[in-house]
Symmetry: C2
Subunit: 149 residues, 2 copies
DNA sequence: CTATATAAGTATCCATGGAAACCATTTTTT
DNA sequence: AAAAAATGGTTTCCATGGATACTTATATAG
């Protein structure tokens, strides 16, 4: 088969899988009042311990307007604290509250459980090959897509 | 490294790549007044030539309410025709208009061009390995995720 | 052959997230 | 040091898409 014919198939599959995963995490997160983007922001804050909004924008490649809204929501849910920064009065530090940390732990458990489930059906060698492939693709797309923005 | 640790990394990459691709196609389709989901529905109609809404729902795994709205939009843009069906008066046949076919062709060209671009950076062997891996993952997730819906 | 269940689409509600304009502060230029 | 540019966040606007209820037509039961 011509290689160029593989391209749309691969893209199609990536979009399809991405969609399935998105819908799945949204459903999983529903009881916690979050969706998968909100969680990814929350998760980053938890991982870093102390960050600013622009860090989220850079790391997750999201719109700053969007991050701003999500931060407000997370704060409203008492999952994070927002403390003014002295160096730069335009921005503030974000950090998880104790309650936030608790919920993060719980969610980590939930996701770990389902990771265990699906990973059973993929053998070890393949797993590494998948990771390698995806890393390469990610780099290629980042290069091609973020270059012309 | 423990295999279970690979799982969240792989999921993360899939979500990340999926997101990038989505945003990219949305931007590409913007001048045509479509987004990537709308295009996928339009594309399916074009491919099939003559279909009903429920076919889209089944093939693309989208909400029927959503498909209904998109169909209305495509019709409003004069990209498809909607003709009443005799066998079943609840549903109607969808088919691309001449104008619709023209636009589909143009879009096929646009996508083909960018497929050519990124595929250059992936060698042939890897391409096949990627396809294989993604097909397997797709099957696994479909099984695990659609089973409990 | 009615009565009930199911199926195909539609209408409505509402949180989401991209885009653009905007504000306040900080940095760079001249 | 004043003017211009850049940066970090916020607000507002609006199309999107998931969820639910509803309408009409078809299929299945009793």
């Amino acid at each position: 088969m011509d290689n160029l014919q593989l391209a749309p198939i691969i893209i199609g599959k990536l979009l399809n899988i991405g969609g399935m995963l998105q819908r799945h995490s949204n459903r999983t997160l529903l009881p916690f009042g979050l969706n998968h983007q909100q969680f990814s922001i929350f998760f980053e804050i938890g991982k870093a311990g102390k960050v600013k909004q622009k860090d989220m924008v850079n790391r997750l490649l999201l719109e700053k307007a969007h991050v701003s809204k999500v931060v407000k929501k997370l704060h409203g849910m008492e999952l994070i604290t927002i403390t003014a920064s002295d160096e730069d009065k335009r921005s503030a530090w974000l950090a998880p509250t104790p309650k936030g940390k608790q919920i993060l732990n719980k969610l980590r458990g939930v996701f770990k459980k389902w990771h265990k489930e699906w990973i059973e059906d993929v053998d070890d060698k393949q797993l590494n090959s998948i990771l390698e492939n995806l890393s390469h693709l990610q780099a290629v797309f980042e290069d091609k897509l973020l270059g012309n923005e």
